[in-house]
């Protein structure tokens, strides 16, 4: 803005922008070029296209028909499934994301020690994430079987009668949440990488000052892991709100609508009911929701996340 003012006043003064800033601008642009080009080529058109679709009625066979905000109003006022699937999805996000982060962190801490056979342990914890889903869907159905599945067998060991899990509308969501915690190996690996980066000098300094284990955790480890927790939270939110594949393969939204998540309903609208316009509206509502949550998280973390770099 100050450049404009300068030019208008007739002082074309290039030193307004310092050479360092210019250099940084060029460098930033250069390094960021792959993403910028990629965005323009592969992302902008599909995303804008879906936005346009959301204002139409479009069955993908015949040309789209403009309906203005019709899809949006129908979703908010007439579609009870919109609200119930949103509820199911939020339920999932609220439990699965924080639990996943906590468990992943605990596992990473556990594995960050000098124990024999550590590599093997790490690999085993990572296993559930590796199994191709075609096969693991069968697996999990067995694990959750109320009569003799792995889970209820373990519970019986401790004298607890396990619930119906995937067959019981009251327990189906907890079952899915549990299943996603099982797959936390990926986040665990990321946290492990992060734990490597906590400078041991910090531990030394704090330890010399007489800190005990819990204080070390609170004042050294967790602050340094801040950026990674932030990543886990935001990535978890983004992924959790779009939770789809497991539901599609294993429960199809049942039993009694209890696992009918937003993305499943969206998918059905798009590809089963041929209502692509309606589905696009759903997608953009979800986008705004995710963006709002993410912005909130970033804003509230700005003061609390410690980046060793700055």
């Amino acid at each position: 803005m100050s450049q404009r003012a300068a030019i208008v006043r007739g002082h074309v003064n290039r030193s307004r922008i310092s050479p360092a800033a210019w250099r940084n601008f060029r460098a930033g642009l250069l390094f960021g070029a792959p993403a910028i080009i990629g965005l323009l080529a592969f992302s902008i058109y599909p995303i804008l296209s879906s936005l346009v679709d959301s204002f139409t009625s479009f069955d993908m066979i015949r040309p789209a028909k403009f309906v203005g905000l019709g899809n949006y109003t129908t979703l908010f006022t007439q579609d009870s499934l919109f609200w119930s699937t949103l509820y199911n999805t939020i339920y999932y996000v609220v439990f699965a994301v924080p639990l996943g982060i906590i468990v992943a962190f605990l596992l990473a801490m556990l594995l960050n020690q000098k124990i024999r056979g550590l590599s093997i342990y790490r690999t085993i914890f990572y296993l559930p994430s590796i199994t191709p889903f075609v096969a693991s869907a069968v697996l999990w159905v067995w694990v959750f079987n109320p009569q003799y599945g792995l889970l209820n067998t373990i519970l019986a060991f401790v004298g607890v009668k396990g619930p119906g899990w995937l067959g019981d509308p009251n327990w189906s969501k907890p079952a899915l949440i549990l299943m996603s915690i099982w797959g936390v190996g990926g986040l665990m690996v990321i946290f492990l990488a992060g734990l490597q980066g906590v400078p041991s000098e910090q531990y030394e300094a704090a330890g010399i000052d007489g800190a005990n284990r819990w204080q070390l955790l609170r004042h050294v480890t967790i602050p340094f892991m801040g950026p990674y927790f932030l990543f886990g939270l935001v990535a978890g939110l983004i992924g959790g709100f779009q939770y789809f594949t497991q539901v599609y393969v294993m429960t199809q939204g049942g039993p009694a609508n209890s696992t009918n998540v937003y993305a499943l309903y969206l998918f059905q609208n798009a590809f089963s009911y041929f209502k692509m316009g309606y589905a696009s509206a759903m997608a953009w509502i979800l986008f705004l929701l995710i963006a709002a949550c993410t912005a909130l998280v970033f804003r509230s973390s700005a003061s609390r996340v410690y980046y060793g770099g700055s």
Partner: protein, 297 residues
């Protein structure tokens, strides 16, 4: 509770205590650790073990109740069957080509972009990051079709290009991850390099990249896994059977009117082997990549 090293030497001088803390990593009581590890291993490993054991079971033992753990006749027939039913060697070759290229492209481009939005102070860094991150927030179900149209117009359908080329333009998820990592590198280090006359590229390549080895290895591993197990992409963009990947091959065994479950489990087991190997190799960078931030006061 075990005593911390500090309290074991209450009277020792400052240097001795400093030495005792050298290379400290947080530790938990040994017994607790071992018990927890064994229990958790059982929990995490059992589903996978079931998968592997079922791959060796004869058909009639597969779905019995209660489930069988040790296959009675140890059957390797499923592996032979799976391998021969469909051209899996071709699928393997295709998948490897795609995965290797995707990993190279992803690691290279994502790290460059992450560097741009984290270590360079320029006007667009925040905007670029926000836009890149936002692309993750739009459900793929609605962007799938327009994207397909783009590739159709480019005549890339039935080639590997739609699966490989986007990887060279930065992956939003990994850009985010690497950005977080890069931001933990102290500014003093890069400032010092700049003062010594290093260009941005030199700073990136000689300082940040080596420091980021564990994170880069993680990204490589995840990118490989993503491409290896990717089903939807190959499903949409590949037409000829000669171009198919392993994940499609696996799904082909799952027919509408009946599935070769034995072959499915056998092939699924085989498909996890390269990832496990890769994971092991990746682990080494974690062990070697112990922090070298060496910022002296």
């Amino acid at each position: 509770m075990a005593r911390t090293a500090g309290t074991l030497l209450p009277r020792a001088g400052a240097e001795q205590r400093a030495l005792a803390w050298r290379g400290y990593r947080p530790e938990w009581p040994k017994l607790f650790t071992h018990v927890a590890l064994v229990f958790l291993c059982a929990v995490f490993a059992v589903p996978f073990l079931w998968l592997v054991s079922t791959a060796f079971k004869p058909d009639n033992e597969m779905f019995v109740w209660p489930p069988v753990w040790l296959p009675k006749p140890f059957t390797i027939g499923h592996f032979q069957q799976g391998w021969s039913l469909l051209p899996f060697p071709t699928f393997l070759k295709n998948t490897v080509i795609i995965c290797v290229l995707v990993v190279i492209g992803t690691v290279a481009s994502s790290s460059l972009v992450a560097y741009s939005v984290s270590r360079i102070r320029w006007v667009g860094s925040r905007v670029l990051f926000v836009v890149v991150l936002s692309t993750l927030m739009v459900p793929y179900q609605v962007t799938m079709v327009p994207l397909f149209v783009i590739f159709k117009d480019l005549h890339w359908i039935n080639t590997f290009l739609p699966l490989i080329v986007p990887a060279f333009f930065g992956n939003a998820f990994f850009v985010f991850l690497l950005r977080q990592f890069f931001m933990t590198i102290p500014v003093d280090i890069t400032d010092a390099a700049k003062i010594d006359g290093a260009t941005e590229y030199q700073t990136f390549f000689s300082i940040c990249v080596p420091l980021a080895r564990p994170a880069l290895a993680t990204v490589g591993l995840f990118a490989f896994m993503g491409a290896w197990n990717d089903f939807l992409g190959p499903l949409i963009y590949l037409r000829d059977e000669s171009n198919y990947t392993l994940s499609i091959g696996l799904a082909m065994l799952n027919g509408q009117y009946g599935s070769y479950w034995g072959a499915i489990f056998a092939m699924a087991t085989l498909m996890t082997v390269p990832i496990i190997v890769l994971f092991f190799l990746t682990q080494r960078t974690f062990i070697q990549g112990i922090t070298l931030t060496g910022v002296k006061g």
